[in-house]
């Protein structure tokens, strides 16, 4: 089984510390959400785990081995990545985008495409196969990229703001998908601002949250923690009230009457 272990990680860029002495463990099958203000180092953390950023010191272990010592294909067997939404210029068919994620398997194109189709089917979007990726909506495209992640069959998924640039219905859909992948055994590290969507992933007490502030771990807790709204408020420097929708807790940022637009 494969987990992720980050210990005493320091990353510096141009003399400024992006990550400071950061440590956390992510066991096999666990889910950890990274929250924090923009610039806190969330994306840098994912990129460091992937080996795209070289840390100054500290270690990133995947399945007990330092990530820098893995070959490209070995690393791809452990770590998959859903990058932050970016524009794609070429009208490549969705199936081909997903099949490209099978690179690590050294298999025939036919096999790669069959596996890619299976991944699209698993997400209920096999009918996108021939559609150019550039013609899909944001939510459709995000689901295709999730299918690529599934096709890669990595044990740990690193997800960078999977809901950004999506409308609320698409966001919910994407988080439900991630939740179902997690519950079927995927280990997940997800960077997010969509705090209220974390509840869509699965049982609140199993959703772990790491608050990142200026590259430091501000808190580690679970979504079910009664103190979570206060921790989050301190992290972002605003106040959250928690209200409930059915059995779910919903966090709402508070603003004073005077701040309301007139």
């Amino acid at each position: 089984m494969s987990g992720l272990s980050v210990s005493a990680l320091w990353v510096r860029a141009r003399g400024r510390a992006i990550l400071s002495d950061l440590s956390f463990e992510l066991g096999p099958g666990e889910l950890l959400a990274l929250v924090g203000p923009n610039g806190a180092g969330k994306t840098t953390l994912l990129r460091t785990v992937l080996g795209l950023v070289r840390p100054e010191s500290g270690s990133v272990l995947v399945a007990g081995r330092a990530v820098a010592t893995l070959s490209s294909r070995e690393r791809a067997a452990e770590l998959g990545w859903l990058p932050q939404a970016r524009s794609i210029a070429d009208p490549i068919p969705a199936l081909e985008v997903v099949a490209a994620a099978r690179y690590r398997f050294r298999e025939s194109r036919r096999t790669a495409e069959a596996k890619a189709l299976a991944a699209l089917e698993r997400l209920g979007i096999a009918h996108f196969a021939e559609r150019p990726i550039t013609e899909l909506s944001g939510g459709e495209r995000q689901r295709v990229l999730l299918a690529a992640l599934i096709a890669q069959e990595a044990r740990i998924a690193l997800l960078d703001e999977p809901g950004s640039h999506l409308d609320p219905a698409q966001q919910l859909e994407v988080y439900r998908l991630i939740g179902s992948l997690w519950r079927s055994g995927l280990t997940v590290l997800v960077v997010t601002h969509d705090i209220n969507l974390l509840g869509a992933l699965g049982a609140e007490e199993r959703v772990r949250v790491l608050g990142l502030d200026h590259g430091r771990a501000a808190f580690q807790t679970s979504l079910a923690d009664p103190e979570f709204p206060n921790l989050l408020g301190a992290l972002f420097g605003i106040e959250f009230v928690s209200t409930s929708a059915g059995r779910r807790r919903v966090l709402v940022p508070v603003f004073a009457e005077g701040e309301r637009a007139s």
Binding site: L52, R75, A77, R86, I92, A100, A101, R104
Partner: protein
């Protein structure tokens, strides 16, 4: 295979065969010599060069993630020009090991310029934008040195250099085919072998890295292999403009942007395109030949604009 692919293959084949019959009619006692010692080898060289430049252009456009990348983006052309010019200006021996000194010097210049840039690219830290800039810097430096060489060269060397820079396919016999074939075969084997890795670059270099592609190694392989092939072509024929830029775009518009078809079809269409341009170059003005580079630019640019306009419509 899709109907579009078959159509493109058919048209390309027709152009290649048809180009043998462009120009004065093949008749009389010299006809076999004209056909087998002049036209066929010239056609083969044109096809090899067209295929090589187009494949290199397509690969570079993918690796650099830039639709304006050309086979000379990594300084190949500027290096070759400097080498040829230096040989014409200072060359003592006209031939070394049976090959013209101009050709050898152009090859050395092209290869050293582009391998310098490939070395920058293979450093894991360089972003692809840095590599493009390195290519521009090497090109500018080579051009500046070439200007210095021009300043001290005599007028005969200058004239020969400007002739060289027009690009040329004419030859007698099969020596060019013999020189170009190994380089083209080797380069295309390497580049076509990287199709899957290049396909992973669709979502960007970082995503390809996450999917298990060793990106610095891929860059070094592609730039190194393509530089070898392009340097050989440029050394033998001089620079031939526009082919490597335009053909991959024509192919994308005709059969789609997928890497799997783009690379081999660029070779096919590039071979046919250059054969077509050369057939026109030697038959459009009776009794005179135009430099083929003039035709590639004159035909390629409007064709591209036309196809893009149709695509948008």
């Amino acid at each position: 295979m899709s109907r579009r692919v078959l159509g493109v293959l058919g048209v390309s084949l027709a152009i290649v065969v048809g180009s043998l019959f462009a120009g004065p009619a093949l008749e009389g006692e010299h006809a076999p010599f004209v056909l087998w010692q002049l036209r066929v080898p010239r056609l083969l060289v044109g096809m090899l060069v067209g295929a090589m430049l187009s494949l290199a252009g397509a690969s570079f456009q993918i690796v650099f993630n830039n639709p304006l990348a050309t086979p000379s983006t990594v300084g190949t052309l500027a290096g070759a020009t400097l080498g040829a010019l230096a040989a014409l200006a200072f060359g003592i021996e006209p031939e070394v090991a049976g090959l013209p000194i101009t050709t050898l010097a152009a090859f050395a210049g092209a290869l050293s310029a582009s391998l310098l840039v490939a070395a920058v690219a293979s450093s894991g830290r360089a972003r692809m934008g840095d590599v493009l800039l390195a290519g521009i810097a090497v090109s500018l430096a080579a051009s500046a040195i070439a200007t210095g060489v021009q300043y001290v060269a005599d007028s005969r060397a200058l004239f020969a250099a400007s002739r060289w820079s027009l690009g040329q396919l004419p030859q007698v016999g099969y020596r060019g085919v013999g020189v170009l074939s190994p380089a083209v075969v080797l380069t295309s084997a390497v580049l076509l072998g990287q199709t899957r890795a290049l396909g992973s670059l669709v979502l960007g270099e970082d995503a390809a890295h996450a999917q298990g592609v060793h990106v610095p190694r891929l860059r070094a392989l592609v730039l190194g292999a393509a530089s070898l092939g392009v340097a050989t072509c440029v050394a033998w024929c001089g620079p031939i403009a526009f082919v490597g830029l335009i053909v991959p775009h024509l192919v994308r518009l005709a059969v789609g942007p997928g890497v799997r078809l783009l690379l081999p079809m660029s070779m096919v269409v590039g071979a046919a395109f250059l054969a077509f341009c050369d057939a026109l170059a030697r038959s459009i003005v009776p009794g005179r030949e135009l430099p083929v580079g003039v035709l590639t630019a004159a035909l390629g640019a409007p064709a591209l604009i036309l196809l893009m306009a149709r695509q948008r419509a």
